[in-house]
Symmetry: C2
Subunit: 311 residues, 2 copies
């Protein structure tokens, strides 16, 4: 049969309940706000299409997921403006850095439509603390722009502190324009199912939900896959065990990898989530230039045969 | 696992062989030219993104599939220019009508990038004969524009004459710029599987194949669905029986429906494919105006409770 663009009720219920679980069980998600996308790639593109005209911009703390250049810009013709974050404070985002980027865009007559964050961060593997999330919500509220929280790694947190979804933060705040808040979710990382192409846009904005749902014909989830996942995610014992085991294994590998690196004098950013390790290889550079970084990268990829992303 | 953007080899082989079968077995399709899309909707949008800049136009013989307005225009910002076809010659497309539309666009400084046809036609349910297809290929060759053939109803032909794929036509022609030819395929109609979201772009243009494949991350086919379909389509006896039985049932329903209409004095366009019946309801109109047509439509939808598309 042709699919209902809303998705199977049992699939949406299962996804909403999974998002709640991944968010630590402290907040509930409403199945009627769930819109399907063709993987997180399609879901993130869809929300940009909903919010921006060609030329409009989104702020993104750097370093950011490199494929956003493709996913968010190629077809929507929106643009990304990196917000410069510094290694000196472990790449934490500050209100000052946001204001600088926002004002600079305004001065160049570029309309900033929103701020996009990945929480847990891709590629840092760190998570945003509650105060930072609150300050981001205040920033978008003050400027009346959107906040897109890509939470596709939410269930990969493998040691404390625990993950806080933006959904929980906005429930706690007194003054929050909820219609500015959008969440991206997926089963690709949290459940290890990237081949199934399940991307979810969860929006507090009724218009975005309505428009994105109309646009979802470009990226629905196979009905067969919806049935399978509804059944799989409804098995709460299986999901609980999977997430616990997944977290344990990630912690073990992360510890092993960073400890060995440390023995060689290579330190890493202190991270607790995701599938990333942010290494500090500055010692190995001839000088502190982009060229030296690329030279080192070529040595690693050609001789060590490891594809490490420079940044 | 993450998917190879090419798709599983067995899936692509199965699709290529299915397309050959749907095309009457007279032409072979190359699995390496198959690009996955999120349903035919996604596949058709992808080829427009590949070929056109915002503002560029595509000619489409009218009446055309109404959702093309959404699928081909909304996000790509390309535009559709209808080529006026007449009931007087059963809506056949003529070289003259194409030239008129093309020149008119040129005079308005609109860049025409291609011609799109649905063969079998949605919504007419008719098929293009060989001479017409050759003349369309000549038209796009002469003007150096693209030809997109949406063949998603190719296996729904239920009585003679039989369907001819554009793939067969261009093999026979001496002078044909193959790189201008693109085919859309799907299993939604031919195999009755719209929920699986399998759309295929088959292009003779290497650059389009390469770009579309990079863009296919927005609409890959669930790996689980690829596995299932590879197995299903490889069962040649099942597919053969399905197509024969499907064709028989379509023929029976079409005959029953048009015969009953004829008893009531309503004639239909002579069609032999697809899931459509093009009725001539002019007798029931108060006068030959758009308003009368809409008035009749409202009577049918509100009182008869049938959603018939006006056109």
């Amino acid at each position: 049969n042709f699919q209902d663009y809303h998705g199977l009720p049992e699939f949406r219920n299962a996804i909403a309940s999974f998002m709640g679980k991944a968010g630590g069980g402290r907040v509930k998600f409403d199945p009627s706000r769930i819109v399907m996308g063709g993987g997180a790639t399609g879901a993130s593109e869809t929300v940009i299409f909903c919010l921006a005209d060609p030329g409009d911009a989104f702020l993104i703390p750097s370093p950011y997921y490199a494929a956003f250049d493709r996913d968010l810009q190629w077809r929507t013709r929106a643009q990304i403006i990196p917000v410069h974050c510094n290694s000196s404070n472990n790449f934490q985002i500050t209100r000052e850095a946001l204001e600088v980027a926002y004002k600079k865009a305004e001065e160049s007559n570029i309309k900033v439509k929103g701020l996009i964050i990945t929480n847990p961060s891709n590629p840092l593997g760190t998570i945003y603390d509650r105060d930072t999330l609150k300050s981001l919500v205040n920033f978008v509220n003050d400027n009346n722009i959107h906040l897109i929280c890509d939470e596709i790694y939410s269930a990969t947190v493998f040691k404390s502190p625990s993950f806080t979804s933006i959904a929980e933060i906005i429930e706690e705040m007194d003054h929050c324009k909820k219609e500015l808040i959008h969440i991206l979710s997926s089963l690709s990382k949290d459940m290890g199912l990237p081949g199934f192409r399940v991307g979810i846009l969860y929006s507090y904005n009724d218009t975005v939900v309505s428009i994105a749902r109309k646009m979802s014909s470009f990226g629905l989830v196979s009905s067969q896959t919806q049935h399978l996942l509804a059944a799989m995610l409804s098995d709460k014992e299986f999901v609980d065990n999977f997430l616990v085991e997944n977290s344990k294994r990630l912690a073990k590998r992360h510890a092993r990898f960073t400890e060995e690196l440390e023995k060689m004098g290579i330190t890493c950013l202190n991270s607790n989530a995701g599938l990333f390790v942010w290494m500090d290889l500055r010692k190995l550079l001839k000088d502190q230039s982009f060229e030296s970084e690329m030279e080192l990268w070529r040595v690693i990829i050609n001789e060590v045969k490891l594809n490490v992303s420079p940044g």
